[in-house]
């Protein structure tokens, strides 16, 4: 699966499937501080990502 990180860099993970929350924690990202878009659709982090999925991780900046 392909992961687009908040800084727009791209990581490829070779895992077959995993809960998105676990993937975020592995990457050192707290799930409460980001929104995850899986294949173009916002999803809760307990949803599983499969091989071939694209995950885009949006970190919202402070202030506003």
């Amino acid at each position: 699966m392909q992961i687009i990180l908040p800084d727009r860099s791209v990581r490829t993970l070779s895992r077959a499937s995993a809960p998105i929350e676990d993937i975020l924690l592995e990457l050192g990202i707290n799930p409460t501080t980001v929104i995850v878009v899986k294949n173009g659709r916002i999803v809760p982090e307990d949803v599983t990502a499969e091989e071939g999925d694209e995950l885009r991780i949006l970190r919202f900046s402070h202030g506003g």
């Binding site: 707290n30 916002i42 809760p44 307990d46 949006l58 900046s61 506003g64």
Partner: protein, 305 residues
């Protein structure tokens, strides 16, 4: 949970969020409805807006105030109240230009009256100029001046209430910061009643929504703009508290909401016993202050040397 199992608790469409208290999954349409209903319920419960009110939204153009204006614009007419937006231009090069453009675009699209007040007009210089030699105190200095500038903007537009975009995260962080500083007076301070002749009541309709919910709401309604972060953002303590609370909220969902309930409980039980602090008027500008000269005038005197 597989994508096939991730369904809205209300209609069975794919869910975009999972919420607690009560536990539920919601699709895009039902999440928007749910978030708006929670804000509306808080406004009604706390009687934030009354018929005849002229509500000024402090519109920075960032995510929280954008969501606030969108939400209030949806249901303010039903209260028999009027809406106006006030933007403070602090003058922060490379940051403010884009957010002010966003504020102008939004008020133009919604047809909401918009007033911009600038630090230069009010204080004789922009924030960048006022901060020369004390850049590390950026947030503190800006906070003091921005509160005054907003109050001036509110007076100019004749508003009876000031609505700010403080969200659940902001409020929970402030509670914890006040506890860590041992600052009981500030923990008890309630600005929702105002001070006749000086400040109109401040309301915080978004305090029932987390920062993540607000961004989700904006994304789903097509209003999220990835704007630059303020170069002066974040005091050391707030940054630490933000990280700490984010970790706690993840491991113990509902932590932020419980902190707000704790604050409200402390306010209810402590207020009758706490003597009101005497306020006088600043000998320079005439605004309310706890001492002889208000914080704004002290800051401006420092600048003049």
């Amino acid at each position: 949970m597989t994508s096939a199992e991730n369904r809205c608790s209300l209609c069975g469409e794919p869910a975009v969020v999972r919420l607690v208290e009560p536990e539920r999954r919601l699709c895009a349409a039902h999440f928007i409805e749910d978030a708006e209903a929670r804000v509306l319920a808080a406004v009604k419960r706390e009687r934030m807006i009354l018929p005849g009110d002229r509500v000024a939204v402090g519109l920075s153009g960032g995510k929280d105030s954008t969501a606030l204006l969108l939400l209030l614009h949806r249901f303010l007419a039903a209260f028999g109240a009027d809406l106006v937006a006030v933007t403070v231009d602090e003058g922060i090069a490379g940051y403010r230009e884009e957010t002010i453009r966003a504020a102008r675009d939004l008020t133009g699209e919604l047809g909401v009256e918009h007033r911009i007040v600038t630090f230069t007009d009010l204080f004789g210089d922009d924030l960048d100029g006022l901060l020369v030699g004390r850049e590390a105190q950026g947030c503190t200095v800006c906070g003091v001046l921005r509160r005054r500038a907003l109050a001036e903007g509110v007076k100019k537009v004749g508003a009876t209430k000031l609505a700010t975009g403080h969200n659940l995260d902001d409020e929970a962080q402030s509670v914890l910061m006040n506890v860590l500083r041992g600052d009981l007076p500030r923990l008890l301070q309630d600005t929702s009643t105002g001070q006749p002749g000086h400040f109109v009541p401040r309301i915080k309709p978004l305090a029932v929504l987390s920062e993540k919910e607000i961004v989700t709401y904006l994304l789903l309604r097509g209003y999220f703009r990835d704007l630059p972060e303020c170069p002066y953002a974040g005091t050391a303590l707030r940054s630490e508290v933000r990280s700490m609370l984010a970790g706690l909220e993840h491991r113990h969902p509902g932590t932020m909401l419980r902190l707000i309930r704790f604050r409200d409980g402390v306010r209810r039980s402590a207020r009758p016993a706490e003597p009101a602090k005497a306020l006088s008027t600043c000998r320079i500008c005439g605004e309310l202050t706890g001492g002889e000269v208000c914080q704004v005038c002290r800051l401006l005197e420092w600048k003049r040397g």
